[in-house]
Amino acid sequence: MQKKPTAFPLGLYGLLLFALCWLVLPAAGAPLERLAVGAACGVARVMASLFGAPAAAASSPTRALLAERTADLHRRVVASDVALPAMPASPYRQPVHCAVVGMARRGGGGELAELRLDRSYDELADCSTIITKGDALVGFLARPGHGPAVDDVPSDPARVLLLHHPAGRALHAAVDIPDGGRLRFVLRPAAVVDPAPLRVSLWDDPWRAARLDHAGLLVRSLPQVLTDGGELPAGLRIGTTRVWGYPATADGDSLTLGIFVAPVVSPRSLSHVVAWRGEGATTGDLPERAVPVALRAAVVHDLPGALHGRHLLVGCTVADGSAVVHDGCLLGLARGLAFGSGLVTSFAASRHRWSLLLMPDDPEAPPRELEGEVIAADGGAVVVRCRDVAGERLATGQLFTGSNGPHCPAGLWIGHASPRDRQPGALDVVVPVITGPRAVEVFAAEEGL
């Protein structure tokens, strides 16, 4: 038997501990990783330069078709998001359609609870604090210099606190119960460890509430004067109920311990929201998109094993999470490396959660915001499993990116999607497969987002 110091690799344990610390503070180790992996790409880069000239961009009819699709998506998203019959009594009647460019901070139920918009506080200065999507209440606009936005200045991208934000406000809400009547209650952000983002904290009729054992009941807002002087209209959809307790057994009734509420739209799937401007706003007409996103030209080469979705990007410095687009269609997301290179993971090879937009083939159907992840891929045939669709059979249509960070804007075409047989909530997506070196464009948002 060897002596203990030789048998047990203390140096290796130290390295593993270092790796754990690195994962806790990823920003500290990022430059080192860029340098190490960038240097290791050197051989692949030299090899790639020997394998032919990059393919040029697609023909103009292809580009025109994709541009038309994207414009159609935008038109339908705007029409669906601003369709709000519940604000007529409010002085805020002019919708401002905003794209979500980032998400942060965990709130109730462990869900992300803060959005960053593509418009600044200055641009939304004349808006109500209420943020909606369709007839659903999404959250409240933060004020720069106050609360969670204490470090923000008016020129910063606006921050939206979702309803389950830890600093979120109590809401008055109501639910229509199946045996008739209505229960009113106060809704607060749940704890991070709770099973859903919002928690009912005070009932108008606790005895009836204790007998409530139906999940999935629609919760709507009640009229409420907000602390900042605004007024929350009644009837906005907030979410659906989740019952926490013991189900009924043969010899006893069910026991409800708590009622939670899951938001109508999954926070991670949000790609656009609507702020409401007052009539007679002083900030003038807002541009279509306030935050410019630059497009940088680069070349993508296949790495050995690229059939499995990994590519080398050469020609420009990229930020982590930048969308790489070839011929107007999403190839994947890049990770920036040193020496002007990057590594691209194709959509098919990715395994992280995506915010997606499904535009149904039926022109009357509204676009659907989804949160999904690729669970299998074989060449250009990709299976995407969507979350929070409750076994629903999704529509056939075109799949686009939703909001996936500042460098991957919503509306990039991914492929054609159809519902998967015998697997509700899953989509079969056909994405274009192109091999060989090709010219691409890389999205880069401005600094500070």
Binding site: A7, G11, L12, G14, L23, E33, L303, A306, R351
Partner: protein
């Protein structure tokens, strides 16, 4: 010094070589399995942490998870295998069994760490063909690899 330069130049390319091998339609294998077995049973014990770093860098070339995740995915199995070196050293059948086990453990560990640290690993799925070929090829590949530079220079004498 020369052996270290060679190792840092060549070791990261092992994963690209494995990808090329697979693209050619040859039986697929997981380079991580061979890396863990080499570091766990054959490499100079004191050099293992520094040998591990370029291997993790190489895995970061083909997998979207970040470098520290790859350090853990490769380092944890090696940390488990190192104390067993005296038991399994040069027992080729046992190595084949361990290779099959690593063919399952490495992707599972990658998936687990990916979930914990929100860095999903593309190689987080167990491929039975990879497990099988890794088990079959491990003794032979390790036998050959131990005679090639730069691995030969890092081999620990029996």
């Amino acid at each position: 010094m020369k052996r270290w330069v060679l190792w840092y130049l060549l070791a990261p390319q092992a994963w690209l070589l494995a990808g090329l091998w697979r693209d050619l339609g040859l039986p697929p294998f997981d380079a991580a399995v061979f890396a863990c077995l080499f570091l766990g049973f054959f490499a100079e014990r004191s050099a293992v942490p520094w040998l591990l770093v370029p291997l993790a860098v190489g895995r970061a070339l083909v997998d979207p998870a970040s470098l520290p995740v790859h350090l853990l995915v490769l380092g944890v199995p090696v940390a488990v295998l190192l104390p067993l070196r005296g038991v399994f050293h040069r027992q080729w059948f046992a190595l084949a069994i361990l290779a099959a086990a690593l063919g399952v453990v490495v992707p599972r560990l990658g998936a687990l760490l990916g979930r914990w640290f929100e860095q999903p690993s593309a190689g987080g799925y167990v491929d039975l063909a990879v497990v099988l070929w890794s088990a079959v090829a491990a003794p032979l590949v390790l036998h050959v690899v131990m005679r090639l530079p730069p691995m030969r220079a890092f081999g620990e004498p029996s």
